[in-house]
Amino acid sequence: MRCWWFCPLLILLSVGAVDIVMLVSPHSVVYHTVLFWFLCVCPGLVLVRFLHIQDMALLWSLALALSLSLDSIIASIQLYVHLWSPVMTLTVLIYFCCVGSLFQLLFSTRLWMIGIATHK
């Protein structure tokens, strides 16, 4: 991914969209679409970015596979410790995505600033 800020920003926007649509219209098609997008892509995309994969096909499919795995693993942990709560799973995933994206943004910004300083 050429733009270092694209993926973290996309994840943060998706998190925001899930929160807003969940509050405004929790039974609409928009909510289902945004939720589906978030669960299928965002958690995995946070992790995949750290692997620096250049192949776009592999990057997005891995993001999908990892997202579904993470969703399921987190929900399973809650289920086996008798704390089944889909809303809590979503909250954990949202926090995970926010922390991961902010870390990426801060880290990449620092690298970018160092790059500019070195260039000057």
Binding site: L51, L58, P86
Partner: protein
């Protein structure tokens, strides 16, 4: 005024000249960028999409006969598939490949082939989907899994995920969206398949044709709302990552052949050959140490998800990874060790309850004879149409495998050594003898090996990367592609009359759950019933062909009454209901040699006995209640 007129004339002339120049430049650029074929290959898929969508609303599933979906498909939809195939073949034989066009064609093909049932059928197909809805509903309602209740709860990963998604989306059950699963899963398979194919060749025509062949031959129908549908995607991901980042260049070494006769020596020679023959996989993408560790962790996470979602797919992954490591195609020897550990720990810790009671059954289902009987012979029964579909499936399988074999040999003669793909094909084959998997092992093996088979099949047409393609190759390509698609319509949707469910029968089953109190005995007339999707653990469910086959075959109502009365006493049932549906009648007609109308005869006998009362009747479902103990 004169000045104004002169100026306006000059402006007009200038504008005219500039306009003409601008238009000429635009046209020239357009001509340089797009040939006539390009425009045609953009126009044809748009037409195909329109031809496919327009008659969609006219399809009446109720008029379907034993040949399946093809019997009600309007000719315009078949024509749409034809022109899409022509356009794809035309595009593939152009000197310059347009990736975006090829992708458009492939996406349209996936939509047309795998999205059709979701659009024309009112409820999800396959009776097993309704059982999966029941497992999901159990997790949503109780927030737990009960491994003793059903084998599926020993590998609950997929159902936990579906419960999470369903509950977050605010749905009551999965039935509202489960029909879209085949389309979703097949779209998921696209990217990992692309990556797998690009690890074996630089010729993008083979890659795209391989994808086309994969989707034209994925008729096994394991992509419904099921754990194996998702696990296949994860399997492809694991293989894609391994081939892309973890393969090592093999070094040729003179092979010392075992001269002694016998199967063991032959096998040893084969393994030695596979270990030392030079491979022609694309150079593995170089990665840093941290990337390597990260990818290994990702591989293990994906494998863990496979292990706790679907037992068979994890064995397929293990077989593939072990073969690659043993034959020196993958350097990470510790990967299969860790995978075996994960699988063993899961089986030991989480599935003991199930295996303790079913171990003998699991081991019994093995051997050559069992493999042939369960996987092939037992399917070739039923009426003439069903037998025709089964034979067509066998024929298409043989065709795909034969083409793949010829393609492999042709590549071999041209100097390409695709041993890695060959290993991935051969690795899971011994599983056929180890377990027949209820007669479905051949289907699963077909699906798991299909990517490599499709690749070799595509290689048959493009051996060497050349700019020009001969007309004969184009004609052959078109012929095979059309043959595959024609076969697909029959092989995948040939049993649709049996696989499809109607909203009327689902409504009937819902009515049953509304009236039957928890603790009731629910008896289905035959398998293939869309039921067990609500509070399944609260009812005692039986199917006549499994528990009491003589009741249907000999219309033996007394045996049924005796069974209900004895079971009701021992299990304190609060009532007994019998359920007959359209799908049961079709299943009997398609898969057995019993006479037509045998269920209707049983229904009449039930009423005549005076111990049953008709509680509910619709065109597709009948419910009887047992009144004998009153």
């Amino acid at each position: 005024m004169k000045w104004f007129k002169g100026s306006s004339m000059r402006v007009r002339e200038w504008l005219h000249t500039e306009h003409v120049f601008f238009m000429d430049t635009l046209l020239l650029r357009f001509r340089r960028c797009y040939t006539f074929t390009d425009i045609l290959c953009l126009f044809l898929p748009v037409c195909a999409a329109a031809f496919w969508l327009i008659p969609l609303s006219t399809i009446d599933i109720g008029r379907m006969n034993a040949l399946g979906l093809v019997s009600v498909l309007p000719p315009l939809m078949l024509f749409a598939l034809l022109i899409l195939t022509v356009s794809f073949c035309l595009l593939l034989t152009q000197p310059t490949l347009r990736v975006s066009y090829l992708l458009l064609h492939l996406l349209l093909l996936i939509g047309m082939l795998y999205g059709i049932t979701a659009l024309v059928e009112s409820v999800p197909r396959f009776s097993v989907v309704y059982r999966h809805a029941g497992f999901t509903e159990y997790i949503m309602r109780t927030g737990t899994v009960d491994p003793g209740l059903d084998a599926y709860f020993n590998w609950p990963g997929f159902f936990i995920l579906s419960a999470l998604v369903t509950q977050l989306a605010g749905y009551y059950d999965i039935l509202g969206y489960a029909a879209w699963a085949p389309l979703f899963f097949n779209l998921c398979y696209l990217a990992p398949l692309y990556v797998i194919f690009t690890t074996a060749t630089e010729d993008r025509r083979i890659v795209w044709l391989g994808l086309w062949f994969f989707y034209s031959n994925n008729w096994v129908g394991q992509d419904y709302f099921s754990p194996q549908g998702l696990a296949t995607f994860l399997f492809l991901m694991v293989i894609a990552i391994l081939l892309k980042y973890f393969t090592v260049a093999s070094h040729t070494r003179p092979v010392r052949w075992q001269q002694s006769p016998g199967i063991i020596a032959a096998l040893r020679n084969l393994v030695t050959w596979a270990m030392w023959v030079e491979d022609t996989v694309m150079p593995c993408t170089s990665i840093s140490r941290s990337q390597r560790i990260g990818l290994l962790v990702v591989l293990l996470v994906l494998f863990f998800f496979i292990v706790f979602s679907h037992p068979l797919t994890s064995v397929f992954v293990l077989a593939g990874v072990i073969a690659l490591v043993l034959c020196r195609r993958c350097a990470s020897w510790y990967l299969p060790v860790m995978m075996v550990l994960i699988d063993a720990v899961w089986i030991y810790a989480m599935t003991r309850t199930y295996l303790a009671g079913h171990f003998a059954l699991t081991m019994h289902d093995s051997g050559v004879r069992q493999a042939v009987t369960s996987n092939v012979s037992s399917h070739v029964v039923g009426n003439a149409f069903h037998t025709f579909i089964v034979q067509m499936r066998l024929g298409m399988t043989l065709l795909v495998w034969s083409l793949a074999g010829i393609g492999f040999l042709r590549r071999w003669r041209s100097g390409y050594r695709d041993v890695t793909f060959l290993l991935l094909i051969c690795a899971p084959l011994p599983l056929l003898l180890a377990q027949s998997y209820g007669g479905e092992m051949v289907l699963r093996l077909y699906l798991i090996t299909l990517p490599m088979m499709a690749f070799f099949g595509a290689s048959l047409f493009f051996v060497r990367p050349t700019a020009r393609t001969s007309p004969w190759v184009t004609i052959g390509l078109l012929g095979i592609s059309l043959l595959f698609l024609t076969g697909f319509v029959f092989t995948r949707y040939g049993n649709e009359q049996m696989d499809a469910m109607t909203s009327t029968e689902v409504t009937g089953v819902q009515y049953l759950y509304n009236v039957a109190r928890p603790g009731s005995m629910l008896i289905a007339g035959w398998s293939g019933t869309p039921w067990r999707f609500r509070a399944d653990e609260q009812y005692d469910t039986y199917t006549l062909n499994e528990q009491l086959p003589a009741v249907v075959a000999q219309t033996n109502v007394d045996e049924l009454i005796h069974f209900i009365e004895s079971t009701a006493i021992s299990r304190s049932n609060t009532g007994a209901y019998l359920l007959f549906t359209r799908s049961q009648r079709i299943t009997i007609a398609d898969t057995t040699n019993l006479p037509a109308g045998i269920l209707a005869r049983l229904e009449r006998a039930l009423l005549a006995s005076g111990k049953f009362k008709l509680l509910y009747q619709s065109s597709d479902a009948q419910i009887f209640v047992f009144t004998g103990h009153q």
